[in-house]
């Protein structure tokens, strides 16, 4: 019986490459985020199809993810770039993590080694930066990186200033608009490679079953449009969408040569229109702007439990954990609201609603 592929073939002449800053690494514009992948066959197929950048982390799946990635890419190491991450807080811990990562991945070096999930400049400690330099000198890593999901405004400049970071891995998607484009451009101008994660806004996967937004987003075109939105920024070196199956891989693969179209723009605009009045991006730009001192983003999150996720009890529980000087405030007592959300969330209306249903 002849072997058949478990998926339609992809056209490898559609691969597009970009250079990852001063590292000089020529990476495919679509890489592979392995975090939630559970079957090695998807990773192996991506590698066979020409995708050449794979990202994992020491902590993913309790360490099992690195082992699976190593097994999936066995025998292909020389043609690929692999990155992993450490969440250790100090030099010794980080270097111990790295040795374990190399063993589990079955390689003598990783191409990029990220300090994982830094939210503030202070977390880029001299100790951790020194660990990366030691690892570089030992030939265990080629380039040093830092990954961040939040805190772009603080961490990206700090990474540039350090002079020791070669690559940044940042959350970057259409819901952020152009808010971090200037920082991304500065990073690129400084020679840093920029890798984008959470390119489909993370929320796709976090949506609860039955959420109507989930159905809309998952319908044909929405996720690909989100990926093409990221790829239209030439300052982005590569992207690492999470992929769990062959269909997702094929969809993402086809995004490489495709241009972000007016149709994509319409799809994403429609989605933003739907979520803008209610969806808090957790950008923290509202912090400290309420004259009554309310923790605005926390309250927006709490009210979303009730009307977004259908978990009223959880929302009420969270609300009741807030201090009295927060829960005693009523937005209706102010004649006007000092909080202006740059993303269009109707803050006063949403928080009033929280006070009404939980208070």
């Amino acid at each position: 019986m002849p072997a058949s592929p478990s998926a339609a073939p992809v056209a490898t002449d559609q691969l597009t490459f970009r250079t990852l800053g001063k590292t000089g690494l020529k990476v495919t514009s679509v890489g592979f985020g392995c975090m939630i992948t559970s079957d090695a066959s998807v990773i192996a197929r991506a590698a066979d199809s020409g995708i050449n950048y794979f990202d994992t982390a020491r902590v993913y799946q309790g360490g099992n993810n690195e082992r699976m990635v190593g097994a999936a890419l066995k025998g292909k190491r020389q043609q690929l770039y692999i990155s992993t991450k450490t969440g250790a807080q100090d030099k010794a811990g980080a270097l111990a993590h790295l040795d374990t990562s190399l063993k589990e991945l079955g390689t003598d070096h990783v191409d990029i080694w990220y300090l994982h999930g830094k939210q503030t400049a202070a977390q880029l400690t001299d100790d951790l930066l020194e660990a990366q330099q030691i690892a570089k000198q030992a030939g265990k890593i080629r380039f040093a990186g830092v990954s961040l999901h939040t805190g772009h405004k603080e961490v990206i400049p700090a990474a540039i200033r350090s002079g020791k970071i070669d690559v940044i891995l940042i959350s970057y998607n259409f819901t952020m608009g152009t808010t971090v484009d200037e920082l991304v451009a500065k990073a690129k101008a400084a020679g840093l490679g920029v890798v984008a994660m959470k390119v489909m806004a993370g929320g796709f996967r976090r949506m609860k079953e039955g959420d109507p937004n989930g159905a809309i987003l998952k319908r044909e075109g929405a996720m690909a449009a989100a990926l093409r939105w990221v790829l239209k920024n030439p300052d982005i070196g590569t992207t690492i969408p999470s992929m769990t199956d062959m269909d997702q891989f094929e969809d993402n693969f086809r995004c490489m040569p495709a241009k972000f179209s007016p149709e994509d723009e319409k799809t994403l605009a429609a989605h933003l229109e739907r979520i803008s009045p209610v969806y808090c991006r957790m950008c923290s730009l509202c912090a400290g702007t309420c004259r009554k001192g309310l923790p605005v983003s926390d309250l927006l999150r709490i009210v979303t439990y009730a009307d977004g996720y259908g978990q009223f009890a959880l929302g009420r529980e969270r609300y009741r954990e807030l201090p009295d000087d927060v829960t005693s405030v009523r937005c209706g007592d102010c004649s006007s609201c000092t909080v202006e959300c740059p993303h269009g969330v109707h803050v006063a209306r949403r928080i009033s609603f929280a006070q009404e249903i939980f208070g």
Binding site: S6, A40, G62, G117
Partner: protein, 272 residues
């Protein structure tokens, strides 16, 4: 008796809501207790939260415990139900290390212990190697967590012969890397990998089988359960899939000479 039961139940709920260091003498809480839910888990484990959300994470309560110079980081995560909690446990255990029958299952390595019981997934990290202390904590915690210690039923459906111990895990989406197989269990065998996926109805399972035939291509029908086929796939190797009612299952990565249909039939036999 009723009062005692109620008091025990209250204590159990309290522990899941507020993990307690005083379970073992000499250990006290250090600093504030922590609490996170699906929307702010990233503040605690920035970069790994999605791995929890995938298993229907609801909330985490945690505390740091201290005894002299030693510190334990104790976190209790409530997942959507016992099956999701087991899935979380199975994806985080080290398949090379034996599990212990504490709660549903527990695994203890020198500086880390994990436990699953009912819908709770417990993690303890230690500042130094002390597996016996971790084991004592896990045993004490297990007694304070309410609910069932039975593993998900599907685990018992995999034939024990040639099963790699501790290899059965729940896959939250895209079993075998195939989107049509939404959620299920996989198990490693000496000479292959088995899987089981539960569909909503026999009709929807039959529809998925048709999608699989179209996707894989070059399939040949075999007589296993309600319907079956075999094929050779570039990435999954030699395979045999079947449908039994609303369950879809099968083997991949079978050796050339193996009787694929007979091996799959053995798995189908165990499916209730």
């Amino acid at each position: 008796m009723r009062a005692l039961l109620l008091s025990l139940a209250a204590a159990a709920v309290t522990f899941a809501q507020a993990p307690d260091c005083g379970l073992l003498s000499g250990w006290t809480a250090q600093g504030e207790a922590r609490s996170f839910d699906a929307d702010n888990l990233f503040e605690y484990m920035d970069g790994n939260a999605e791995g929890y959300l995938l298993y229907h994470f609801v909330r985490l309560r945690g505390v740091n415990c201290q005894s002299g110079e030693d510190t334990l980081i104790l976190d209790v995560s409530e997942m959507g139900n016992a099956e999701w909690a087991y899935g979380m446990f199975a994806s985080n255990r080290d398949p090379r290390v034996a599990v212990e029958k504490i709660g549903t299952e527990a695994q203890i390595v020198p500086r880390r212990a994990i436990l699953v019981k009912d819908k709770y997934f417990v993690e303890i990290g230690s500042s130094k190697e002390q597996p016996e202390v971790l084991r004592q904590f896990v045993r004490a915690i297990e007694k304070r967590i309410p609910g069932t210690s039975d593993p998900p039923e599907a685990l018992t459906w995999f034939p024990p012969e040639k099963l790699v111990p501790g290899s059965v895990r729940m896959v939250p989406e895209s079993v075998l890397g195939i989107g049509a197989l939404k959620r299920g269990y996989v198990a490693e065998y000496a000479g292959g990998k088995a899987f089981l996926v539960r569909e909503t109805t026999p009709a929807s399972a039959a529809e998925v089988m048709n999608k699989l035939r179209a996707r894989i291509g070059g399939t040949s029908p075999v007589k296993v359960a309600d319907e079956g086929f075999e094929a050779i796939d570039k990435y999954l190797g030699r395979l045999c899939f079947f449908r039994k009612g609303r369950m879809i299952g099968g083997f991949t990565g079978l050796a050339d000479g193996a009787d694929a249909a007979a091996i799959a039939a053995k798995l189908a036999e165990g499916v209730k």
